[in-house]
Symmetry: C2
């Protein structure tokens, strides 16, 4: 009997720790592509039998509340119109993509800064609506959630988790200058080889670039500390009824699921509770709709080009769309263009425009030769997954940085939406299709993406379930979070050692001087005597 | 047909990158427990169909060359006697475990330092024997290996790999002060919360401890750079026929398989090419030999205590072994004691002494209540795997540090071999058995160990096969390796910025002084007029 027990014990242990009874998950989402990525995780959680409740502000743009959903949706009725959010977003695109080149750096920065403040103001309204609503809080409390998953691009998810005494996990792409990851996540980022997010640099920098990188880090720290943190610190303390800060609350995240991987990312230091799960939403291509498949097949040996500027870019100027249409018409490939705006008058016979396209399925189609993209992370990962070289036309947010990464990895060419001509676009597409290195690099990067010990989605879900099983992942949390900034950088130790050395040198010098004088006076005395 | 192809393409990609045709592996091993851990990896590689050749110096102590082996063993006949190695090792144990308390710190340090130099000298002889033997090198070259696995506790593995143009992987426990990992592996270790290996601290340090930690790091850097690196730099350059250094050669390691995990380790920053695979050699317990099983079963509800001081400690003094025997005889548990030395005259009826024990199987036995151990990493991981609390009697090397970790995690009590009494030993065993927190912590740590997305051994083998498939893992290598130390710490940038600020302040002050003077002289002139 004991022998049996011996064999059974480790299995029981594995079974005990390896099995998660179905859990109850609360979600604090962010709109648009953030939601699409988060949804892939939630779908998998539901497929594994967990219950998922999403807290959605009524101003959320991408979710259609009338559509049936597999999630429990808790709509938070906020005094913000959808149109209002849409206007801010389109202003953001307009300024970033079009006005950037007409404005001075300072004017551009101030305009973006004002928009960020507008978004922050609305974030605060949403936060107030949830956290000052006792009835909602009681309802959430009585639902006995096991975990909260938050995207920290909008604040407050961690505060809801703390208020409800729930462990929480982040699903995150980035903050400007990795500021949240560094200051609140504790991840070390030596400015000498870790390029600041949105700084447009790679991991190989010249002296001037390294200086720029360091100054960019510093500037972002100042902006975040004086705008974002300041806005939240008092509120977080009030809500939790104890002195705390926004950043301190963020340090309690059990796991940070980062939406990239080393196929895309430049290798850099990480922490045990940072999991890089980029591309978790990607899947093998499914068959295309019949009409689209016919069009794709008609491309013959030339194949097709897939073109999309994402869900936020809804309209180009007439002039720009005509130029794009002209360029596309000059390609020997068939082109599938996702575009919701006013159709250009002259569209090539080789081009079809769609309101929506099954992008992942198209990128996974064997006829696909290239992808013209604005450089959103989700789209880039679909291209990586299927090994398709890219022409990047980045607009705003992380897009320029994303395309920068893909250029550095040799699987993309970059164009500037503001200055590009039809010839530039044609040349760029031809380059990524006919210069074999782009395809070779795309396949190599794709191989790296696929060759992981465990798939990104499985890893993400594993750690969510881990936190539900153990109620935390504290064994992965660095002690750095309990140090002040000067302790973390050992500045107090260095200062103390410098003082000690200075004191030692001072005493030695004084002793020597004293001895010399003594000797001198003794010699004088002897001389006199 | 195209739809089929669509579905098949990603599968093909996964298949292509996911399958490794059997490879040819060369191994540069280290003696004793290092070899036992490495062997677990090699056994798995052989089970997966790879060919494994181990380069074994004839002075290697643990391997019996006459025994049949599943590995190809290439014995390097070196002018070093086994007895010579054994003597150095026993000197090492004697000084560390017994003489430490009788010697001044400086005298102890110098004795250990001399022994390290002796070992280094023998390492160099082995290295010479391999690398100056053209015939052996040609033989190795013609064997067309795909990868070399090395334990960098002894140098030269990386040099053999470079000479044969092979990618290489490290299997490593630690270097004193994490010096090799930091300076040659690039892993960041902020001294404020990452305790230096062998420094005996945890991740939560007082001001004085943080200072001690920083000074320990600095001292190790000096020792390594002036003794170890200096010894090898010229030799590595000569052998490779180009100017290089020992450390630069080490930076080329594709992956560092570190023989710990976050169950044991304090959470700390890591790099993408560092995999923490602690406990990869552990397995579910197999049935015990019949006689041993009967003895274990006879323990009734009290259960058993397993006692081993490892394979290196062969003898205790008569006095010490009598004291241990007396202590063990006072326990209500049955005791299984692995001990090769002279048997103590009075042995309790509850104690049985064995030359060798199936340690993992005993620790996995449901009757086992506690483990008295010297604190070797392999044994500690077996205790973690099976959730058994420990009494640690560390002797030398990483043992005091290992037991320190287990104490900090609440699953061990520490005793000092030099000062402990029979009562101390009895009390310690009673504490870890009857104070429930020790068992609770042991089970908690064990759960963390077992609850990983993929088993440590599978992860280790995955990355070895990955490097064989792709011929490298360069996508995980940080650009930090191509920076000088002052560039890495941004000292050039900081110096430049300080000079700029100083210059700016100087110019502003000069301008102000100039203006003030001008104004003064104008005022004087006006006054005069």
């Amino acid at each position: 009997m004991s022998v049996k027990w011996m064999l059974v014990f480790p299995l029981l242990l594995v079974f005990f720790v390896g099995s998660t009874s179905t859990g109850n998950v609360l979600v604090w989402p962010v709109d648009f592509s953030h939601w699409l990525n988060m949804k892939a995780i939630l779908d998998e959680l539901i497929a594994r039998g967990h219950q998922v409740t999403v807290l959605v502000p009524s101003s959320f743009l991408i979710m259609n509340f009338s559509e049936p959903s597999r999630f429990q949706v808790e709509v938070i009725s906020v005094p913000i119109e959808k149109e209002d959010m849409e206007t801010i977003l389109q202003d953001f695109v307009r300024i970033s993509a079009y006005e950037r080149h007409e404005l001075s750096f300072w004017r551009f920065f101030m305009k973006i800064f004002d928009l960020m403040k507008e978004l922050l103001h609305r974030n605060r309204i949403i936060c107030d609506t949830v956290l000052l609503n006792e009835k909602l809080l009681k309802k959430l409390e009585s639902a006995h959630f096991n975990i909260l998953i938050s995207d920290p691009v909008t604040a407050c998810g961690e505060l809801v988790a703390e208020k409800l005494h729930l462990p929480f996990i982040y699903s995150f792409r980035l903050s400007s200058g990795n500021t949240l990851e560094r200051l609140c996540g504790g991840i070390p980022s030596p400015p000498s080889y870790v390029p600041a997010s949105l700084g447009g640099l790679t991991d190989r920098m010249t002296f001037l670039q390294r200086m720029g990188n360091m100054l960019f880090y510093l500037s972002q720290d100042i902006v975040f500390q004086h705008v974002l943190f300041k806005q939240w610190d008092t509120f977080y303390s009030e809500v939790l009824g104890r002195p705390t800060t926004f950043c301190e609350t963020m340090t309690k995240a059990e796991i940070w699921l980062i939406r990239t991987y080393w196929d895309f990312e430049f290798p850099r230091p990480l922490l045990p509770n940072f999991e890089f799960v980029g591309g978790l939403h990607c899947q093998p291509a499914k068959p295309l709709p019949e009409e689209m498949e016919k069009f794709v097949q008609s491309s013959g040996e030339h194949g097709i080009v897939v073109f999309s500027l994402g869900s936020i870019i809804k309209n180009l100027t007439d002039e720009k769309s005509a130029m794009v249409a002209l360029a596309l018409s000059q390609l020997p490939q068939k082109v599938i263009w996702r575009y919701k705006g006013k159709r250009p008058e002259k569209l090539g016979a080789n081009t079809r425009v769609y309101d929506w396209i099954p992008q992942n399925d198209l990128l996974g189609h064997p006829k696909t030769k290239a992808f013209i993209t604005h450089g959103g992370t989700n789209g880039i990962y679909e291209a990586i997954y299927h090994g398709i070289p890219m022409v990047g036309i980045p607009m705003f947010g992380d897009q320029p940085d994303n395309i920068g990464h893909m250029k550095a990895k040799g699987m993309a060419v970059e164009l500037n939406i503001h200055t590009m001509t039809a010839k530039d676009l044609v040349d760029a597409v031809n380059t990524v299709i006919h210069n074999a290195t782009y395809k070779e690099n795309a396949v190599r990067i794709s191989q790296i993406h696929h060759d992981q010990p465990i798939k990104p989605l499985d890893r993400a879900v594993f750690w969510i379930e881990f936190v539900m099983r153990h109620k935390s992942a504290k064994h992965l949390r660095v002690a750095a979070h309990d140090l002040t900034w000067y302790q973390y950088h050992s500045l107090d130790v260095i200062a103390f050692l410098i003082v000690c050395i200075a004191l030692f040198v001072f005493i030695v010098v004084k002793c020597c001087t004293f001895c010399c004088r003594k000797c001198g006076s003794i010699r004088k005395k002897t001389k006199k005597e």
